[in-house]
Symmetry: C2
Subunit: 123 residues, 2 copies
Amino acid sequence: MPSRGSGGYKMVLVVRGELRLTPGKVAVQVAHAAVMLAREASRRRKAELDAWEAQGQKKIALLLPTLAEMEELEHRAKGMGILTVFVEDAGLTEVPPGTRTVLGLGPAKAEEVDRLTGTLPLL
Amino acid sequence: MPSRGSGGYKMVLVVRGELRLTPGKVAVQVAHAAVMLAREASRRRKAELDAWEAQGQKKIALLLPTLAEMEELEHRAKGMGILTVFVEDAGLTEVPPGTRTVLGLGPAKAEEVDRLTGTLPLL
C-alpha cells in the first residue's frame, strides 16, 4: 500500500498528548474520529473515500502535544481542502465535557497530508 | 447516554491482548473495526446505526487474551444476530499479515451486547 507520492490515500488521526488519556480512551476517541470522517466523506468526498477503502483504508495515529498546535494544523488542512473533524469527548470519565481529544484528517492523498503531518511522532 | 437496559446502543471493540500491540497500533486497529462496522450497518442495520449515532455513537474498547476466546465471542454474537467484524492486519509492522487483531460488535442494544461482554476488562 503506497504511502507517499504515489497516489495513495490515508486518514490521519492526531491525538492530543497533553491529556495523557489511557490507551483504551485513546483508541475509542481515534475510532470516533475515523467514523466521523468516513461518514462525512461519504457525503462530500466519495471518490477519495472509495479510493481509500479500495487501498485498505490506511490509517495512522500521530501525536501533537497541545490543542493550540492541533487547531493550527486543522486550519492548514482546511486551507488545503482536506476534510477535518475534531472529536469532543462526552466527558463522562477522564476529561471535562466538550474537551477536544483527537483531530482527524482525510481520507486525502498521502503526499498532501504528509506535507502537514510527516514530521509528527507516531502515537 | 444510557448504557444498560434502557434502549441505548453501543459498539464494542475487543482487542486481542496476547499480541501486545503498541497503543498507536491498537488505536488504528480499533478504528478499522469501527469504520467497518459502521459501513456494514449502513447497509444492513440502518435503524440501529441511526439510533447509535443519534445517541453519540457510544463505543467501548475491551480486552480478551486469546484469538480462541474472540472467536467464541464472535460465534455467540452472531447467534444473537449482532453484527461482527474481525480486523485482519496488513502485517506491515508489528504482526504477520492476516493476523486477527480486533473483534468488533454492533452497534447493538447495550443490554444485549452487555450479556456477552459485560464482564470483560476495559482495554
